[in-house]
Subunit: 286 residues, 2 copies
């Protein structure tokens, strides 16, 4: 996805959120530096995820941390575990669509850029409403059709906490008798799940293979993917990508067929994806 | 008030809001230009209102308009007129505090920088809640004491729509047998009321004198005030200043005694003012 004008205040807000989480005294330095960077990087044709990667990397350096969101991610996992207990009963005989919905609802665990989503507790407060909303864009039948015929499926995760809900969807996917590869982030980035989160929730046991994106990036930096993951991506009969940053990255490529499962939390993503804003979206691109 | 790190995304968001209101095709140019300006202007010691004045001036030029908020301001006036009818009964025997509260509640008619306040309809939806909230910081007794002894009072208005509610407060103030000067903006800036709004609501008849700030500025540019208004400001036994931008400007001066009547819609203002965030605030500085 090309960087949009709205991405600029959003990115600044998020960097400020990171500074506040780690060291309030560095807020001013962070904003000064990000302004200088964006003055150079914000231009037609620039890819939002690539700009965001560069900017956040610099902010992490200024703040002297490799993971400003660590505590928040722990809290996301904790809240998701609590809700999972509730959901396991609810989803005992759940359909593929039910597990897709749950996994998308978990995608709200992504904070620091909207005034209303600033902590993992948002999910506790809004969980029932988000589930009741259902899917605002629903390609699950078509996605399920592809799954039924698929041999190789590759699944790119997004946030901590969300990954707890993903475990149920991953188990459901395995029920279609596919070879399942799950890819988590190679380094801590924003609120995203890392290999530690994946191992904590036994994704290495649920999936056939557990891989990483190979480095620091918002979404996926395709240059950093290992040859093995690149091959799996080429060979996949279905790619499933969670969250907005994966849209921002994959929409610049022609990998297909690919199902995006996300909460559309910002307008540039919802518009470019052709899906309604602020909804639970399961959209397939063949 | 010194410019805060939070002011940067906020300003960008507001400029983007202006571009969207006038010409969406210029969003990108606006953001590029504002980034370049802020990269230079955002520095320790810079005054938020002065930076905002410079930035908005440039955006208005790019957009080729002298008033991107014109239609929104008309809607603000319209909604306030509707609510005033409701309030006149309610406030038939209202106290000074009641009229101060109403006038502060009108201060929410200021949009484009917060996700939840984007149109004049926000006031219609939230009016009863905002009135029920009452004052979150209440110096009205002390302000009334000063009024009782005052000869000369000068009152700086803020937004269109809000000015409709101000008329009731201005009438109440005139009841204390003071010489009352009302100052509105000299040129259209953001959602602020201009001389046209003041005349529409007979403020020239309610007050003893109606003046303007003398030019284009967020809040007050003291260099642009006429000598007459400067003298009135010096001689005033009480200054009343509505809204956050007036805080941002007057807090850089030693004019006193001054009562700020505002909704504290952002944290830098509430923090520097020493008042709670997102409340109806009447705070006196002697």
């Amino acid at each position: 996805m090309e960087i949009h004008p709205e991405c600029v205040p959003c990115l600044l807000k998020r960097c400020l959120f990171e500074a506040r989480a780690v060291d309030e005294d560095k807020e001013r330095e962070v904003v000064e530096e990000v302004l200088t960077m964006l003055d150079e990087l914000f231009e037609e044709g620039a890819v939002s995820a690539e700009v965001a990667t560069e900017v956040h990397k610099r902010v992490y350096d200024i703040l002297g941390t490799s993971d400003p969101y660590l505590k928040m991610k722990e809290k996301s996992n904790e809240n998701a575990e609590y809700l999972l207990k509730k959901s396991e009963d609810m989803l005992k005989n759940g359909s593929f669509r039910d597990f897709v919905l749950l996994s998308i609802v978990g995608n709200v665990l992504d904070f620091g850029y909207r005034d209303d989503i600033i902590s993992a507790d948002y999910l506790l407060e809004e969980f029932d409403n988000l589930m009741d909303e259902g899917l605002g864009y629903d390609d699950t039948d078509e996605i399920e059709n592809l799954l039924e015929k698929a041999e190789n499926v590759i699944f790119f995760t997004d946030n901590a906490g969300e990954i707890v809900f993903d475990t149920l969807l991953l188990k459901k996917i395995k029920g279609y008798d596919v070879h399942l590869t799950v890819v988590v982030k190679g380094e801590p980035i924003l609120t995203d799940a890392t290999i530690e989160d994946a191992l904590k929730y036994d994704i290495d046991k649920i999936a056939d293979e557990l891989k990483t994106t190979g480095g620091y990036a918002v979404g996926v930096d395709f240059d950093k993917l290992s040859q093995e993951v690149k091959t799996k991506l080429e060979d996949a009969d279905l790619i499933i990508a969670k969250g907005m940053a994966n849209w921002e990255s994959f929409s610049e490529t022609d990998h297909s067929p690919i199902a995006f499962l996300t909460r559309t939390k910002c307008e540039p993503v919802s518009k470019t994806m052709g899906a309604p804003y602020d909804k639970n979206v399961a959209k397939l691109f063949k």
